[in-house]
Symmetry: C2
Subunit: 243 residues, 2 copies
DNA sequence: GAGTGGTCTAGACCACACA
DNA sequence: GTGTGGTCTAGACCACTCC
């Protein structure tokens, strides 16, 4: 290639094509010039072209079909992403403050045992905390963990009381993943009191189960959020993975 | 390489390393053998190794640092995603049935104008529909679109009344993206009636704004979902993008 | 058969990190 | 300086699609 600026050639190529896609010059379904053509056009080798195209592919801009060509993809608007950690539950700027309310060791009841896939009556740890923003109380979070003596998870869990945060801190130790369900509910008496709200007011119930790499539940969290102070936001493309 | 099976070499390498990561042999933070070492070890060229590593990188299994090495990544448990379209709002198996209630052309009030970034009083289309599962009514969806005569979006929109579905059908024409917010609310009189429920019962309010590629709002949807029949589920790792 | 993307090689030079 | 990943080349053969 002749005049190389500071950005890699494959990146320039990807940017060029991306711009053509976003400007509408290349529409979804359109075929992209063949890799050989692009290589000639940009004066680079085919591997460099492929490097650029793989960027676009990773970003969801194009799809490749062997023997046919590279085609502009339709944006997947049905797949939504959001972050779920204490730093961004309420948006980028607002931070939540976590206050530990209680830590108990108790026997698992039916529901908890089923969620954690342990025997009914086995020892579990319950951690209760309150999350507040500058506006006041936002949510009550109750976590349940199997009581495993000496498990690093447990000890740190009690020390720093923050569910997804602390869990992800431990993923240095265990590869894990995470499932969330969001439901509408209303505040019960105790929750309303803790959240300085009123019984029957709308709330979000966010349940979270964290699994180990072999799909065993490591923890179960149930968060009750004041409806007026909590909004869950999601977008159809990853926040960071933009080209 | 000597004995090649049916899968590409780079893929085998990626699988090998993935298994080592998932089995715990390689833990998050661990460094992976250098590309040169892997190349020698597997008897392939360095580019082939890099091809395999890029798979792992794309899948979030490893991170690369120039001059340092490739490292096993910690799973990002704070990044959640879910699908939001009528076919999977309630899970994979349940399908929602959409019933068109009304279509009107009216003048934008303050709120709608602001959401759609149009002038107050300008013409907009309002489409109201009810979504039901086999269990009965689930949600009321109200959509607002700028009234643009002859816009393909609008006409099809009225024809097939399904928000994310129909919108994504049109993304063959316009690259677009999508923002959702989820809030707790309670059923108002009219909604309760339509949903065969009662005033004050918990509900989810899901607002969705679809943007064109130049970030102009193309549509605004506000969905009121019966709390007892609607659960939003999200997970921390892609279903499909697995290695 | 001609054209496409998929895989792969055996080198090369560079930018960066670390000692 | 040595080792690492990042970029790039100029070829090659294969599998696939379409004619």
């Amino acid at each position: 290639m002749s005049l190389r600026s500071f950005v890699p050639a494959y990146y320039q190529l990807a940017e060029d094509l991306k711009n053509k896609i976003e400007s509408g010059e290349l529409k979804p379904g359109d075929v992209i010039p063949s890799e050989a053509q692009l290589a000639a056009q940009y004066g680079v080798s085919r591997m460099t072209v492929r490097n650029g195209l793989s960027l676009l592919s990773k970003g969801g801009y194009i799809n490749s079909f062997q023997g046919k060509g590279n085609f502009v993809a339709s944006p997947k608007m049905d797949r939504m992403y959001f972050y779920f950690s204490e730093n961004n539950l309420l948006g980028q700027n607002k931070k939540l403050d976590a206050k530990l309310l209680s830590v108990d060791v108790l026997a698992a009841d039916d529901k908890t045992a089923s969620k954690l896939q342990v025997a009914v009556g086995s020892k579990i740890v319950r951690i209760e905390q309150m999350l507040s923003s500058e506006d006041g109380p936002v949510a009550i979070d109750r976590r349940f963990l199997p009581y495993i003596k000496g498990a690093p998870l447990l000890e740190k869990e009690i020390e720093y009381a923050a569910f997804p945060e602390s869990m992800s801190r431990h993923t240095e130790l265990v590869s894990a993943h995470n499932g969330i369900s969001v439901q509408a509910c209303v505040l019960m008496k105790e929750e309303a009191k803790l959240l300085s709200s009123k019984v029957g007011f709308p709330a979000l119930c966010i349940e979270q189960i964290i699994y180990s790499r072999d799909r065993k539940p490591l923890g179960w969290s149930k968060m009750i959020c004041r409806g007026d102070r909590f909004v869950l936001k999601a977008v159809s493309e990853p926040y960071s993975e933009r080209l």
